[in-house]
Assembly symmetry: C2
Homo-oligomer: 436 residues x 2
């Protein structure tokens, strides 16, 4: 389409999901190519609750590449974002010289404007801590598989403080606007490692690969999101005052100083990947849950074995961990599993039939009235009554100021193109619309 | 001496120290014989600040074995205490049959009365949580080298809440009253593993040994306490509300479930033991400090890798850890080291010349007025003024209700006999004196 000056103009908008690892990525064998020391596996969350929308525009009239994240212009010169742009342009060029042609070859030499927002709920009372979380001043993170909404684009966790560091590499959208198709996870990986797992919906593994050039280090769908419809996910957003250590520098320090990490990557994870994939295939929740918890704990153990040690869990996280174990012990089966990434927030995996009761348990031990207006967003949950027996079996003290709010969601699909032009975040002037 | 009824009566009183491991013991290869999966190394603390005094009496007139800990009679039938009594009696019998004779052979078939108290300061305001810490209702612990005042005798940490679980095996005193001399660490080990390191003063290693019968699993002095007079120790007693997981069951669960522990014991600790012994010989504080912190962190990493995970560190512990690293980073050298055992309390190793300043730092970031009447007991410290530069370099928020009090001490000698009869804790009736 023509822009305001009548120049050729192309624009693509995509939505991309976040993923939560159940077998964690922590440690690179190659800093340059973002190659991991072990494979990892995650669940892609549903975009109805958590997604990032990114619009990328290409135009001859743009003077320079520019990027806006959640309404604020950011530095386009971040090294990893530059890597992605470079890689996408290279692929587009290759495609053109191969004679396959792209949708918008003009875009190749043109500058791009990128605009990205997320649909995360902004809880009342979190604005100040959110603003203090200068997530964008940092080097883009490349962390254990949390919230790497890498494919649709830049996104900010500012409205979901401390949920995790994150990545913002609009690979999927960029590729579309540049006319590149096919295997993009290797490109996404260039931006942020775990981001490549958000290329697919459902259950996704990032195979570490063996090659030095990283060509075999790619994401692969293990099962689609429809495979296990009973699986439910609760994000418990923990009140926290400080920004944790960034995961990029954190994992690098772990590789350099932890005397346990190599043993984990070489001897523990390969077997766990097999078991986890098997548990997903069989929809064996107890096995899935136990492995998920063990791997989360081992990731944090490695952080503690790093020198100086890295702490992502706090007393609230530990309270949640104990709550989950006491709950499971009461029923003598793993009905609920926790996992924590590079921050104190808990992500809970459970099955549909246990959601209502477990949420009631959470509310009992983190009473909403003393937990900053705690409430559940997302998929509906029903109120239930806790038995005195269950309360006593858990036998913990209720905690104040622990959980800010909860997002109730499930597994969902991968990135998708938004066809409706009114959904573009950039106007015909190539600048963010008011609402973006 | 004759007792009140004119019966032969023998009584021995000993003092024994506590030890704090810098290379941790965590995990047994033999539950029966208390044989560890790795060697460990500790510093014996000075008895002026922390000691246990135990009196053991033997008399024909005693109807049964009895034990009093800090003024309260306890169950003599604890399995490990019984093991010690049995083993000591066996050694005494052997000695008699070898014709070497003991001081009080009569005691062999007689019953014993054991009475033990400690000199730990009881902080004001701690009585209730102390009373709640039912340390004696548990199976005797056999934990990572904390406070194993095993040799002089039973002792209670009730006055030092949550400092750690501990052991109470009056091996040294029992041996004396039974006329047994020589190598006792194997006997002490029967009671509580790390207790055997309290057999000596100064720097003590517990060599894991290879034999199935444990005969080569013994404590050995690496250097006496006079070797490194500048070394100072601060015990930061952390306010904590709950009793942590007992270390005996904790380490057993770790052995069964942690996929990192075997790698630690087989591949990490042997090299660390060598380095640590070398650092002690050379009085290389920076090396000693770094290894101490790394090994503490790795021990807690293993606890986290246990399933379900075990947490001994809390947010206060983490605050102290960060404080120490920020302090060291400011000076670009390791001037202070922390170590944590099976509880949230920090033990700080430093050198004489840094004690005053570091304590001032602790007081600044844990202001006494909001930390439950925090004060320093033990070796004198001088007040100093913190530079603004140092305060800013540490750059942390002061914490309230973190540290209850601090014990300032140094390395000290091993167990010793108390010659002065007035110091016996048992009267001539074989029952605890009023003051005991």
């Amino acid at each position: 389409m023509p822009d305001d000056s009548g120049n050729t103009f192309s624009m693509v908008t995509c939505n991309a999901p976040v993923n939560i690892a159940v077998i964690k990525y922590w440690g690179k064998r190659d800093e340059e190519c973002i190659l991991p020391i072990n494979s990892s596996l995650s669940v892609t969350l549903h975009q109805d609750q958590l997604k990032t929308t990114t619009t990328v525009a290409c135009s001859r009239s743009f003077q320079e590449d520019r990027i806006w994240l959640n309404g604020k212009e950011e530095d386009i010169n971040q090294p990893r974002l530059q890597s992605c742009l470079r890689e996408i342009r290279r692929l587009a060029r290759k495609r053109r010289s191969d004679g396959e042609g792209g949708v918008d070859l003009a875009g190749l030499s043109h500058k791009v404007h990128i605009c990205s927002v997320n649909n995360f709920p902004t809880a009342a009372g979190l604005a100040s801590s959110a603003a203090g979380y200068a997530c964008l001043g940092e080097r883009p993170s490349n962390e254990v598989g949390v919230y790497p909404v890498a494919l649709s684009g830049p996104f900010s966790l500012c409205s979901l403080p401390l949920l995790s560091p994150f990545s913002f590499f609009p690979v999927y959208t960029l590729a579309r606007v540049m006319g590149v198709e096919g295997e993009l996870s290797a490109v996404a990986r260039q931006g942020s490692g775990s981001a490549c797992r958000s290329m697919y919906g459902g259950f996704v593994q990032w195979i570490m690969g063996q090659r030095e050039d990283g060509k075999d280090s790619v994401a692969q769908q293990v099962e689609p999101e429809t495979h296990w419809p009973e699986l439910r996910i609760l994000v418990l957003v923990v009140s926290a005052e400080r920004k944790p250590v960034g995961s990029t520098s954190g994992m690098q320090t772990s590789v350099e100083t932890s005397s346990l990490l190599k043993h984990r990557s070489d001897s523990v994870v390969p077997a766990r990947m097999k078991e986890m994939i098997d548990a997903v295939h069989r929809k064996d929740f107890a096995a899935f849950a136990e492995l998920t918890m063990k791997d989360s704990n081992q990731f944090h153990a490695i952080c503690l074995d790093t020198y100086p040690p890295i702490f992502y869990l706090n007393d609230v996280s530990r309270h949640i961990i104990n709550l989950v174990h006491h709950y499971n012990q009461h029923y003598r089966e793993a009905r609920v599993a926790y996992t924590f990434d590079a921050g104190p927030n808990a992500v809970i995996y459970t099955l549909q039939q246990h959601v209502d009761e477990f949420l009631q348990v959470v509310k009992h031990f983190f009473p909403p009235e003393t937990n900053g207006g705690q409430f559940v967003k997302g998929l509906p949950v029903a109120s239930t009554t806790l038995t005195e027996e269950l309360r006593q079996a858990i036998g913990m003290e209720p905690m104040v100021k622990g959980i800010s709010y909860i997002i109730s969601t499930k597994a969902g699909p991968g990135p998708c193109i938004v066809e409706e032009p009114s959904q573009h975040l950039l106007g015909s002037d190539g600048l963010p619309k008011e609402s973006a």
